[in-house]
Symmetry: C3
Subunit: 221 residues, 3 copies
Amino acid sequence: MEPGVESLTALLLSQAVLVPNLVGTFVFALSGGVAGVKGRVDLFGLAVLSFAAGNAGGIMRDMILGRFPAGSFSDWRYLAVSVLAAVVVFFWYPSIDRRRQLVLYFDAAGLSLFAVTGTLAALTAGLSPVMAPVMGMLTGIGGGMLRDVLVNDTPAVFRGELYAIAALAAGLVVVVGDALGWPWLVTFALGAGLCFFLRMMGIHRGWGLPTAPWSPGRGDG
Amino acid sequence: MEPGVESLTALLLSQAVLVPNLVGTFVFALSGGVAGVKGRVDLFGLAVLSFAAGNAGGIMRDMILGRFPAGSFSDWRYLAVSVLAAVVVFFWYPSIDRRRQLVLYFDAAGLSLFAVTGTLAALTAGLSPVMAPVMGMLTGIGGGMLRDVLVNDTPAVFRGELYAIAALAAGLVVVVGDALGWPWLVTFALGAGLCFFLRMMGIHRGWGLPTAPWSPGRGDG
Amino acid sequence: MEPGVESLTALLLSQAVLVPNLVGTFVFALSGGVAGVKGRVDLFGLAVLSFAAGNAGGIMRDMILGRFPAGSFSDWRYLAVSVLAAVVVFFWYPSIDRRRQLVLYFDAAGLSLFAVTGTLAALTAGLSPVMAPVMGMLTGIGGGMLRDVLVNDTPAVFRGELYAIAALAAGLVVVVGDALGWPWLVTFALGAGLCFFLRMMGIHRGWGLPTAPWSPGRGDG
């Protein structure tokens, strides 16, 4: 491959990663804003919570991989979409709340996108094929976990419905695709698609993993 | 400017940053100790909580910017003032509790100092003028957020009264001063002063940002 | 010392650190799994919580020291023992719960091992002898703190019984041994032994530090 093509490919790839990352940030930031409205935070607290939900996963990823400045701090556009999400929630919360199902879909999309791009970033930074999907999963679930901790909820990710494991599955697809030399877009689509599919099955068909039989109140809630 | 003058300036600047940082650490550590007494932790837990409240903001800042060892781990004096604050709270909590107003003022001072020095550190590390104030804000509010999460409270920063936004305003002043080439001390004083002023207005005049109209129980609490 | 011997020593040391770190990870991961069963998370959430409890301390340590990829992300064996712990808890929770005392002993062992290896890593990374034991302590208590925050508990480390301070004591022994040139194994054994002894005294003899006299409900709970 000649240099010109390679750098064009690199450019396209970086753009290909930027757009899903921005979309993922926006939908996660929406979920942060919704949590903020429920927690009665003010407009600015809403923005902080949106930023945390949308960006903490990527920031953790880069802090662990050693890429600085970490995550969203290297590009103002992540801040912009996070603040936009906070403003949208502040003014149109009822419309969003009515479309709860839609928000779940967007969240599933964000999870899928982050899991794939996070795994890719981990592989690029030299993580082993075993650990890279774990990093992709952390990228996908980190923001939501911080969001829930900040408003004093048990992280939603611990509540079944194939959430974290869907993200991990996406990461595994990326690792396999990378090892077998699949075209990047195919790998991307398959990984994100599998994660999204598993989330949909979790939401609509109740697919999930078992809780330990000795958990208190199991079966009631 | 000749080299001798420049390194003297650098020395003065680093000292100029060290003292406010130590003062800020101490007052935030006091707030950590107070939270610890309320949460019934033992003397050593008090020290851990004081250290967390006083230093987590700076540690997060450096972990994101890529400066190692991060934050207070590079200088024992931060540990010293944190432990001092814990001891002060352990023995004289009632005196501190009676001076609640005074603690709020000190906290406002700490926030102002951290927001300014955090933004400066971010600019020095190459962050864009858009993201540097966000980093200053995080430096200012990070310790208090961790403190509240550790004792299972919703972070105070989410409860109105112009807190995080005051820190952001300080950071914006620093960015403007840096761009226009203001003398550093002027920038420092204006930024920290604006943040402190906004906090005072929040505390005494009830200045604040609106909560979303759809927040539950809005207007009651 | 000739090069061959030195690199052999380095190899032995790295192995000497790997095994206690893996054992420490496993026992902390067990505690994460137990917290997960109580918090009614599903099987995969259990694995996430086990991984967090077992590895967050080391990941924080490396993120602060600037060693990348941080902590367990550089070696798949930490993931393996964490998942193993989750599986063990999932299937045999009652047996583990009946052996609560035994779990406390294992936890004490994990704390001792992490405190020593964390302090050593901090010294190697150039931290001062004052701050290195603090880093060792953080390595030891970080995972448990994150575990408790994730399931919405006040961190157990704040509840007396010589926990964090036992870890700090181990770190101080390591610093003294390093300064006086003690053989590494002696330093290791003395540091870890002291921490373990203090924990045992905390558990069995009620050794502990005082709570501030002004803490609410002091003496009742």
